[in-house]
Subunit: 334 residues, 2 copies
C-alpha cells in the first residue's frame, strides 16, 4: 500500500505536486507529470478513498434505496443510476429493504454517517418516524417513483394517471363493463394516481364503478393473489382486472390459474410495470411499461446536479407506454 509520500519521494517532488500531477492540473510541467506518473505506476499507487472523502468532506458514493432489488423494475432503476453515476466517477450503494418498513428505517439511518454523498430512494414506509429518518440524510435527496407524505425533494416519476386512464380505456372499448382494479396502499401517491386514472376511464366510458371492484392495499405477489381470489369470489366477478404493479400481476395470474380460469377468455388482465418474461407468459401479458432505466439515470442526474450546486431541481416526469400483447380480449371471448 504505497502512499502519496512514497510517490513524492520516488519522484523527487512534494506530495502537493503529486496530487496536482495526478489530477492533470495545468500548473504542472509535463516533465514533472511524467516523473510523478511513472513513480505512481511503479508503486501501484492509488489515492485512498477514505482520506479523500475526509479531506473533501464528501464521498464519491451515491446511494439507492429500494424496497426490493429482486424486482426487475428496481434492478433496472439501479442499473440506470449506476451507469449515470459512473459517468461522473461515482459509485452506487444499493440498499434493499425486502418491503420491510422497519428494516428500511434502519438502513437509511445507518447511512447517515456521510458514507453517501447523496441518496435516491423509493420507500415503502409511510409513518412519521420514517420520513424524518429519510430527511436526516447529509447530502441531497431524490425521490424515485413515489413521494412519501411530508417530504420535500425532487421526484422522478411517470405520468401514472394519464397512461392508466388511456390503457384502462381499452377494456371499455372492448365492451367490458365489469372492470376491477387491484390497487396499492392508500397512502401511496402512485396508487392514488393510478386509481384516479382508473376512475377517469370509468367516467370516460360513462359506466358506474362498484366499490367492491377496487381492492386496496396490495403489494407483492401474495397481495395480488389474495386480492384476485376475493375478486373471483364476488357474486358478480369482474371480467377484466387492472393490476397496480408487476408483482401484484404475478400473484393475480397465479390465482386465476389456480381457479382453473383462462386469461383472456375468462378474464382480461392489464399490468402496470412490464417484465422481461411477460411476452412468454400464457398468454403474453399486456402491460404499461415505465422507463425504469431512464428513471434511474434521471435520479442520478438530479443528485449530481445538486452536488454541483444546483438548488432544488424540478421533478422529472417520464412517459410510460402501453405494450399491447394478448391478455386483453372482449368479455366472453374464446
Amino acid at each position: 500500500m504505497a502512499g502519496i509520500r512514497d510517490v513524492a519521494k520516488l519522484a523527487g517532488v512534494s506530495t502537493a505536486t503529486v496530487t496536482r500531477a495526478l489530477r492533470d492540473e495545468a500548473s504542472v510541467t509535463p516533465e514533472t507529470k511524467a516523473k510523478v506518473r511513472a513513480a505512481a505506476a511503479r508503486l501501484d499507487y492509488v489515492p485512498s478513498a477514505a482520506a479523500r472523502a475526509l479531506s473533501q468532506g464528501r464521498s464519491s458514493l451515491l446511494g439507492l434505496f429500494v424496497p426490493d432489488i429482486v424486482n426487475p423494475f428496481y434492478a433496472e432503476v439501479a442499473q440506470g443510476m449506476a451507469d449515470r453515476a459512473a459517468e461522473a466517477n461515482y459509485h452506487c450503494v444499493i440498499a434493499s429493504s425486502h418491503l420491510n418498513p422497519e428494516r428500511e428505517r434502519q438502513l437509511v439511518t445507518s447511512l447517515h454517517d456521510g458514507t453517501l454523498a447523496g441518496l435516491a430512494a423509493t420507500t415503502v414506509g409511510t409513518d412519521e418516524s420514517f420520513t424524518s429518518a429519510l430527511t436526516g440524510q447529509r447530502g441531497p435527496l431524490v425521490l424515485v417513483d413515489r413521494r412519501p407524505r411530508g417530504i420535500r425533494a425532487p421526484l422522478v416519476r411517470t405520468d401514472n394517471r394519464k397512461v392508466t386512464r388511456e390503457a384502462v380505456g381499452q377494456f371499455f372499448a372492448m365492451g367490458h363493463t365489469k372492470v376491477a382494479m387491484i390497487s396499492g396502499p392508500r397512502d401511496f401517491d402512485t396508487a392514488c394516481q393510478r386509481l384516479s386514472g382508473f376512475r377517469l376511464a370509468y367516467k370516460d366510458a360513462g359506466l358506474p364503478l362498484r366499490d367492491e371492484y377496487i381492492r386496496h392495499g396490495h403489494l407483492g405477489e401474495a397481495g395480488g393473489l389474495a386480492a384476485m381470489r376475493e375478486l373471483l369470489a364476488l357474486p358478480s366477478p369482474p371480467t377484466a382486472v387492472f393490476c397496480f404493479n408487476n408483482l401484484v400481476t404475478v400473484g393475480a395470474l397465479m390465482a386465476i390459474r389456480t381457479a382453473g380460469l383462462k386469461v383472456p377468455g375468462d378474464i382480461s388482465i392489464l399490468a402496470f410495470d412490464d417484465m422481461s418474461l411477460f411476452p412468454l407468459v400464457d398468454p403474453p401479458i399486456t402491460a404499461i411499461a415505465q422507463p425504469a432505466y431512464q428513471m434511474g439515470r434521471a435520479a442520478a442526474d438530479l443528485l449530481l446536479r445538486q452536488l454541483g450546486g444546483e438548488k432544488s431541481p424540478a421533478d422529472v416526469v417520464l412517459p410510460a407506454t402501453l405494450i399491447e400483447r394478448e391478455s386483453l380480449a372482449p368479455p366472453g371471448f374464446n
Copy 2:
C-alpha cells in the same frame, strides 16, 4: 454536522471517552456513558464514516461485482449478500457491468482505492488484464458462481456437474435420444462443469452424442435465441434441449415460439437457473434452481471471516435442486 469534539465539550469529557462510551466499552462508567449519549443525541451526532475508515484503515463497505443486476439470479445473490453484511454492520456496494468485460475491468479497478473492505465477484471477462485487475483489490476477495483462470480465492458455487447429470438424465429416461445443450463460453468453469454433467448423462444412457448438439459460447437472451435457431435448422434437430442459464433459456423459448413450435410437444426444455415467472410461462419451465440468496449470504460470510482474520477459507458448495414443471415430455408427445 456536530463532531466528536462538540459532543466531548457538551458532555464535559474528552473525545477519547466519547468514542469509548458510544461503543459501549466496559471501561466507561455508566454515568459517563449516559452523559455522553445524552450529548450525542442532543447534537444529532453521527460519527463520520470517512474519518473512521481513514483511522481504522478499513471501510465498512463490501463490494459485489456482477455481470448484470437485472438478472434475478444476481439480484438475489445481492440481496443475500446485503442481508448478511448488514448483520455485521457492513453495507453493500453493487456494481454491474452489463456483461461488458471492458466496463467490468474499469469498475473493478476504480474500486481499488480502499472504498471496499472486501469484494465478492462473478466475472465475465477472462483475459489476463482482467484477472490481474481483480487481484489488485486491497481487501479479501471471494468468487461467486465461477472462478476465472489463474485466480486464487475462495469460491461459492453449486455442484453443477452432479445436478446437471441427474436432471439431463430425465430426458433419456423419457425416451429422448436427440438431446442438445446450449452451453456457455468455453473458458467458464461453470460451462465446463455443466457440460461435463451433460456428457455424463449421455454416457449413463449409453447413447452417442453428436458434436452439433453442443453449441458453445452463449450467454444472455440473444445467445440463446441464435443457438436455438441453429439447432432447429439442423438436418436432424434435437427433441430436447438443456439451456446453460436462465437468460439463454428465455432466448431459446423465443426462438421456438417464433418457429411456430410447441414446448414440450415438439421440443422439451430444461433450464439451468430458475426464475420467478417460469411457473407462469407457457408451458411452466422445468429448471435447476441454484440457492442464489444463500450463495450471496455465503459470499458475505466468507468475506467477513477473512476480515476477521481467518486465513483462506475453503470453498462453499451449495446444493442446487431440480424443480419439475411441464417443459419436459417424451419425444413426439402431444
